[in-house]
């Protein structure tokens, strides 16, 4: 016989072991060496909190009472897990990218961060989970009682309640220690996840051990076991199809909506890929858990005395066979099932209570200044600890009140039916953009009311809460509202009845509520974010630590303020806090400052809403902010882009018009140029051809002969010059010219130019300023000389003064050396000043020019190539040209 004290010692040692495991995991995660904590196997094992004491003890009882129906509880989640591609993949992605902290947060967040919805879902979940928590306490105390009974003490009810209280207290301590150590935005709890993974292994092994013992130790092998099953009472069970399908759906739906399952599936998910492994590994776990349930039930019914509680067969069979070790192991399995569920459920509920009820209440009671003066962090942690204690207290109170008589499975299913009321809003919210807040409120309210009326309240038994007359005849005698026969539907299982009506009317209310109301902007933004989550979220993104919060804020701020401004803002704040870099501590002052800055970009209301959500979310859901910011930025960007587009189109049109004009202009210029060339070439050719024909005919005097051959020679020279000029210009214009850069002196250049023109028949008197000409040059001296020759020659040809004089004056203007060429003629008229540098722009008649009118065009091209300019200088009393000398870039030559 196992003494009760030994059992207690084993239990305490086991708890101590769990503490050590949890501490080690936390330590490992803090040191950053906890990669194994993120493995898909830990994730899969953590999902096993689905299998509570209800599974461990209750499934056998369920099978003993209802045959194979217990399997539906595992088949539903199996279908959901195998169908992960449909729903879970999306839920996990949303949960990660939106930093969802609980199922209430998911619903609230999806529907425009509605506080009201958050409160509703939280309350619903607490109400639905409380009996379930009570159930776990009850199972642990019952298992204690079994051992006490076996040891010879018969436990009284106060012994049960006292041990329940101790269990509740112990669980509260454990949960508070590991569940509220930190306030990470992602709400992950490595210690707890590790502890429940270990517990998952313990409970699986315990149940399998009992099962193996039963099949091979008691029944005598696989074949006899099958025979035993077929001859047992269980084989007589007639399965109702409605219940089979309904319960499969219910368990699958509850798997998604139970707060504790959402916690481990989504919130504690470390890597999206873990889901892929869990999609088959977790159903395998469920399969193994349920494999031996029927054999244990059958054997229990056969060998244990009539009237034994089938819920406790897992313990009583080993005890009855004298296998105390197996019994203790089995006890630890049940203990693990109960505690792991309680811990996670409590954390999930506490998170919801603190985030959606306590913190908003506290903030509104403190008024608008609270953000600055209060420490949200401490508040949230405190609220969460209180909530944990409160939730466990509720469970304990329910346990006390209910007296612990119910069949375990019934309580579990009622709880399931309650939590699935969130399903339409959740699934609708992530797949349907049209879902609105009012639709969600209507659906959940209707579902909750029907569930409470037709299932939850009657579950307290006849005259428990609802009087028997109401159950039999309806409230105020309205038969249509009888809790278990709504609208006259009798002859149907009460659970399926409640499930069908609540889900149907819930969905209808949700749908029409959504269709008939108009979503708020934030709701629509969130709707788009949730439904199209795969379009704008990056996959497998590692959870960030608390330093990343500032970084996320920076990312968000950059999206709204622009990179530079945001970086400056953050850098200044970091400097003010005495930190280097761009990431300051996220203090309330900084948040307010940031809000002001954001208000400048997106308007005060939006900025306040954003930062308000930041504070209200308590657990810093920066991703939410980013989501809003993204949308806002997208909208801004979109309108900007529209503006840009129209501006761009205008610009393009203008460019096209310009280009077209330019082309037309060019075409005209080209025609004109060709005409000019043709003219310039044909004119001398005409003379040459004409006179050569005359000469060929012969018979003329020597004078005539020499005169005409002289004309032919001059015209041939003129042609040669023209061709030279054309080639020169073409080379210059195409940029193919090679410049012979050399150092020299302005004086030398002018000397050469003057002497080159001195013997021309149109030579002009040149006045120079000898003293000012010693300016160093670094340029192509020959080309510069060519320009000067051209200018001097032009002055000689065109200056119409009686005594033509050209002044060549170097001077410094605005830091640059220039040379002015000024003659004393009539100058050039204003209109002509525009065109003198164009090709063939000869102004006076041809004879005087002696060239094709390319000289100044060539000069301008040369000066451009040399890095200087040549311009006409008006108002000098005659024709005046200013040559701006290229800078003497050779440093050795600057004065």
């Amino acid at each position: 016989m196992v003494s009760f004290n030994l059992l207690l010692a084993v239990a305490l040692a086991y708890v101590a072991f769990l503490f050590v495991i949890a501490f080690a995991a936390e330590r490992s995660a803090e040191k950053g060496s906890g990669a194994w904590l993120r493995s898909p196997w830990i994730y899969t094992l953590s999902l096993s909190i689905y299998c509570t004491a209800w599974t461990f003890y209750g499934a056998v009882g369920y099978a003993a009472r209802s045959g194979l129906e217990y399997l539906t509880i595992y088949l539903g989640p199996t279908v959901v897990m195998i169908g992960w591609w449909w729903v879970l993949r999306k839920l996990v992605r949303i949960g990660r990218s939106q930093r969802i902290t609980s199922i209430a947060d998911l619903v609230s967040s999806r529907f425009g961060k509605s506080t009201a919805l958050g409160v509703m879902v939280t309350l619903l979940m607490v109400v639905a989970a409380t009996p379930y928590l009570a159930l776990q306490l009850q199972s642990v105390t019952l298992s204690f009682a079994v051992f006490a009974d076996a040891a010879g003490d018969s436990w009284l009810s106060e012994d049960l309640t006292r041990s329940a209280l101790w269990v509740a207290l112990g669980l509260a301590v454990f949960t508070i220690i590991f569940g509220t150590r930190n306030l990470d935005a992602n709400e992950r709890h490595h210690g707890i996840v590790m502890a429940i993974a270990v517990e998952a292994v313990v409970k699986l092994c315990a149940l399998v051990a009992v099962g193996v013992f039963v099949v091979w130790g008691v029944a005598g092998g696989f074949g006899p076991m099958i025979d035993l099953i077929d001859t047992s009472d269980i084989a007589q069970w007639q399965q109702s199809s409605g219940r089979w399908v309904g319960l499969t759906f219910l368990s699958g739906a509850a798997f998604l909506t139970l707060p504790r399952m959402f916690q481990v599936l989504v919130v504690e998910n470390a890597d999206e890929k873990n889901l892929i492994t869990a999609s088959w590994a977790f159903p395998l776990y469920l399969l193994t858990m349920s494999l031996f349930v029927v054999p244990i039930a059958v054997v229990g019914l056969k060998i244990l005395p009539e009237g034994s509680n089938p819920d406790l067969f897992v313990l009583t069979i080993p005890l009855s066979q004298g296998l105390d070790g197996l019994a203790i192991f089995s006890f630890l399995g049940g203990f693990s099932s109960a505690t792991s569920m309680v811990i996670v459920a409590t954390i999930a509920l506490a998170t919801m209570i603190s985030n959606h009820i306590v913190t908003p209440l506290w903030l509104s009671s403190k008024g608008p200044g609270a953000v600055v003066s209060g420490d949200i962090r401490q508040l949230v942690i405190g609220a969460r600890r209180l909530s944990i204690a409160g939730v466990l207290l509720l469970g304990y109170i329910y346990f006390r009140l209910s007296g612990g008589g119910e069949a375990l499975a019934a309580i579990g299913l009622i709880s399931f039916a309650g939590v699935v009321q969130v399903l339409p809003a959740m699934i609708g919210g992530i797949f349907w953009r049209g879902a609105t807040r009012w639709g969600a409120v209507a659906g959940i309210t209707v579902g909750f009311v029907i569930w409470a009326w037709s299932l939850f309240l009657p579950s307290f038994g006849p005259d428990g809460i609802l009087p028997q007359t109401v159950i039999d005849h309806g409230p105020f005698g309205i038969a249509a509202l009888r809790p278990q026969a709504l609208f006259g539907i009798t002859e149907i299982d009460p659970l399926i009845h409640a499930l069908m009506w609540s889900m149907l009317l819930n969905s209808v209310a949700f749908f029409f509520g959504s269709v008939l109301t108009f979503p708020q902007p934030l709701e629509r933004l969130q709707g788009a974010q949730f439904v199209n989550i795969f379009e704008h979220s990056e996959g497998a993104r590692a959870w960030t630590t608390s330093t990343a919060e500032a970084e996320d804020l920076l990312i968000m701020a950059q999206r709204i303020l622009g990179s530079n401004e945001a970086q400056v803002l953050f850098q200044q704040e970091a400097q003010r806090q005495g930190k280097a870099g761009y990431l300051p501590e996220v203090t309330p002052e900084f948040v307010q400052n940031l809000e002001r800055e954001l208000a400048g970009s997106v308007g005060a209301a939006t900025a306040h809403a954003m930062v308000g959500q930041f504070i209200q979310g308590a657990s810093v859901s920066v991703e939410d902010l980013i989501a809003v910011a993204d949308e806002a930025a997208q909208i801004m960007e979109y309108s900007n882009r529209l503006e840009q587009k129209s501006a761009e189109q205008e610009r393009t049109a203008r460019q096209l018009r310009d280009a077209n004009e330019k082309l037309t202009q060019l075409s005209i210029q080209k025609d004109a140029f060709l005409s000019q060339i043709s003219h310039e070439l044909r004119t001398p050719m005409t003379s040459i051809r004409s006179f050569s024909e005359i000469l060929r005919e012969g018979g003329m005097s020597d004078d005539e002969l020499s005169k005409y051959s002289g004309i032919i020679h001059d015209e041939a020279m003129r042609l040669t010059r023209l061709l030279d000029d054309l080639l020169d210009l073409s080379v210059l214009e195409n940029g193919q010219v090679t410049l012979n850069m050399a150092q020299g002196n302005l004086k030398t250049v002018i000397d050469r130019a003057v002497s080159a023109t001195a013997h021309s028949p149109t030579a002009i008197t040149v006045k120079r300023r000898d003293g000012e000409e010693t300016i160093p040059l670094y340029t192509d001296l020959d080309r510069l000389t060519q320009v000067f020759i051209n200018l001097i020659a032009n002055a000689g040809k065109y200056c119409d003064a009686k005594r033509p004089v050209l002044r060549i004056e170097p001077r410094k203007v605005a830091g640059e050396w220039v040379v002015d060429f000024i003659d004393n003629g009539a100058g050039i008229t204003k209109e002509n000043q525009q065109v003198i540098f164009e090709k063939f722009s000869r102004l006076s008649d041809h004879r005087k020019a002696g060239g094709a009118g390319l000289g100044l065009a060539i000069c301008r091209e040369i000066m451009t190539r040399l890095g200087g300019t040549i311009t006409y200088l008006p108002g000098q009393g005659g024709a005046a040209f200013r040559v701006v000398l290229p800078a003497a870039v050779n440093p050795a030559l600057t004065r």
Binding site: D671, L674, S675, S678, H679, E680, L681, R682, T683, M685, T686, S687, I688, R689, S690, F691, E693, I694, I711, D714, E715, S844, D845, H846, R847
Partner: protein, 122 residues
Amino acid sequence: MAKRVLVIEDEPNIIEAISFILSRDGWTVHTHSDGETANERITATPPDLIILDVMLPGKSGFDILRDLRESPQTTDLPVLMLTARGQTRDREMAERLGVTQFMTKPFSNAEVLESVRALVRD
């Protein structure tokens, strides 16, 4: 009496050439090298034929031709146009304006002489 030909041209060497060819053939050759005053000169002493350059200082040969055709006194006057801008556009332009004959430079002396003879014969 010798027929009178007026050469309106600004290139001195070309004037010299045409004068030489026509004089030798017995024509009386007058020359004028300014576009602007050409029409006055023609109206004052109408020649039997005009040899007209296109690119003239002051006024283009086309403008001179147009004015000639608009004035009843000179509307039938034979005009031989010589141009160095040998583009078809110029020829079309001249024909539209009612030129009697159009030649591009450089020309052959014989050609010019033949044309002048043909134009003045009637």
